[in-house]
């Protein structure tokens, strides 16, 4: 075989290899709840290393914060005292409302259903710093009972959902990921739309909002429960700028998420979604 022929063969083999890799990439594009043996193994091997590194970084990061924070703490303490007294007043009125609610429910003979989400608290052990995907890795996988499509939340609001699990870790696709899409409602006005990620931690976009919807800045957006993954009523964020969509018939809005994704270090996995938390299409 001459050098020229060898060179041609090499180019041909390279093209074949690239095509095979692209085929593999395309076929692994869809969400896979179950990872391959190799992927699971790698994730479980890397888990203690990333977990250890996260803890070490957290401890190192806490040192300067401790010294800088003392002055801020006393100011914050004063502010908190004022807030507590305001909240106590509010709490009294809420307790009255609650008592009234219970009485009215009794009158209407409505059953008091206890909503059980069976939440499990866990820690974030790794964050994807990739430009293309917004995902995090959490401690706990199939051994802890986690499964694909389980919802992750914090006290502030919705974080995302589990997309892949290994024995000891789970991957969570954040709502800020560009491929994420959630059926949502604007509270009060009940205007529906779809919230999708922009690849940025502090901004989401809500599209396909009816053109006649009355949207006001800072209105709260929650999940609508349409579809089979996200239940209704989970807090997503609040409305920012509202603009008409290019077709002129619908509106789109920027959404500021409630969750601070830059400082997310622990969350709750909802392992059980209570019945009746999903809405049927068209309702």
């Amino acid at each position: 075989m001459t050098d020229k022929q060898r060179k041609r063969l090499m180019i041909f083999l390279c093209i074949i290899l690239v095509l095979i890799i692209l085929f593999v990439a395309a076929s692994t594009a869809m969400e896979r709840g179950h990872l391959s043996f190799l992927e699971k193994g790698l994730r479980d091997v890397m888990a203690p290393l990333t977990s250890g590194s996260s803890i070490a970084l957290e401890k190192i990061g806490a040192i300067p914060k401790y010294f800088v924070g003392i002055k801020k703490l006393s100011e914050e303490n004063e502010n908190l005292k004022t807030t507590i007294s305001q909240l106590e007043t509010k709490l009294n009125s809420y307790e009255d409302a609650l008592r009234e609610n219970v009485e009215l429910r009794d009158l209407l003979e409505l059953k008091n259903e206890i909503v059980d989400w069976s939440p499990i608290a866990t820690k974030v052990i790794g964050r994807s710093s990739s430009l293309w995907y917004n995902t995090i890795t959490i401690k706990g996988g199939s051994k802890k009972g986690f499964e694909a499509n389980m919802i992750c939340v914090t006290a502030e609001g919705l974080v995302g959902r589990i997309t892949a699990v290994s024995a000891y870790t789970s991957e969570v696709r954040l709502i800020t990921d560009r491929s994420s899409g959630i059926g949502a409602l604007v509270q009060v006005s009940n205007s529906p739309g779809v919230v999708s990620g922009l690849g940025r931690a502090n901004e989401l976009k809500m599209v396909h909002i009816p053109g006649d919807a009355r949207l006001v800045k800072d209105q709260v957006v929650v999940t609508s429960g349409l579809g089979e993954i996200f239940p209704a009523g989970l807090r997503i964020g609040y409305i920012g700028e509202v603009k008409p969509e290019s077709n002129g018939l619908m509106l789109s809005a920027t959404i500021k998420p409630f969750v601070d994704f830059d400082r997310l270090d622990s969350l709750l996995v909802l392992t059980k979604i209570p019945a009746g938390m999903y809405q049927e299409e068209g309702k």
Binding site: L22, T28, A29, L38, S53, L57, D262
Partner: protein, 176 residues
């Protein structure tokens, strides 16, 4: 022979540390949501010292590892990093590696090249990412950030690969 084996083991440990830092530290030091790509550092700097095919194999292996950890679109990082390593290895032969501007420029251009290639390949694999806006708002800022951090990461790699040679000893004395 034993020295070479030790070098390979140290290199593998370096790669592993880089992966762990990419999964943890990178997001912590993100500026305006743009995190640096430590894997590109190791791919670019090791390509300075390996022939192009070997560099492509190393870049491809690091990319494959990254693909397997991310668990989606397997092969896109493999191809992108292999191609970047191949080009950097060919390009770097024309320059002296003791010039501090070389790693900075190389990392900047490699990040842009990697990002553009990934965006093109992702379309072929069915992942739709807007090309120009991703390049301007994500890839370009990351290239700048990577270039700023490049000298910090270059020194240990530089010493690691060259310290056995006379040139390395001279440069180590000059740099430290």
């Amino acid at each position: 022979m034993r020295e070479n084996k030790a070098k390979i083991i140290i290199f593998l440990i370096l790669v592993l540390i880089t992966f762990v830092l990419q999964q943890t530290l990178a997001a912590e030091i993100a500026v305006f949501n743009i995190a640096p790509n430590f894997l590109l550092f190791i791919v670019v700097f090791s390509s300075f010292y390996f022939p192009s095919l070997k560099a492509a194999a190393i870049g491809g292996s690091i990319g494959l590892f990254y693909d397997l950890i991310q668990g989606k679109y397997l092969g896109l990082e493999t191809l992108s990093l292999a191609a970047v390593a191949f080009v950097v290895s060919l390009w770097s032969r024309r320059f002296y590696k003791d010039n501090y501007l070389i790693p900075i420029i190389a990392v900047f251009l490699a990040t842009i090249g990697y990002g553009a290639l990934f965006l093109l390949l992702s379309r072929l694999a069915g992942l739709y990412l807007p090309f120009w806006s991703s390049l301007i708002f994500f890839v370009f800022p990351q290239a700048v950030y990577n270039a700023v951090l490049a000298p910090l990461f270059y020194l240990p790699v530089f010493i690691f690969f060259l310290r056995q040679t006379a040139e390395g000893e001279r440069l180590e004395k000059d740099l430290l």
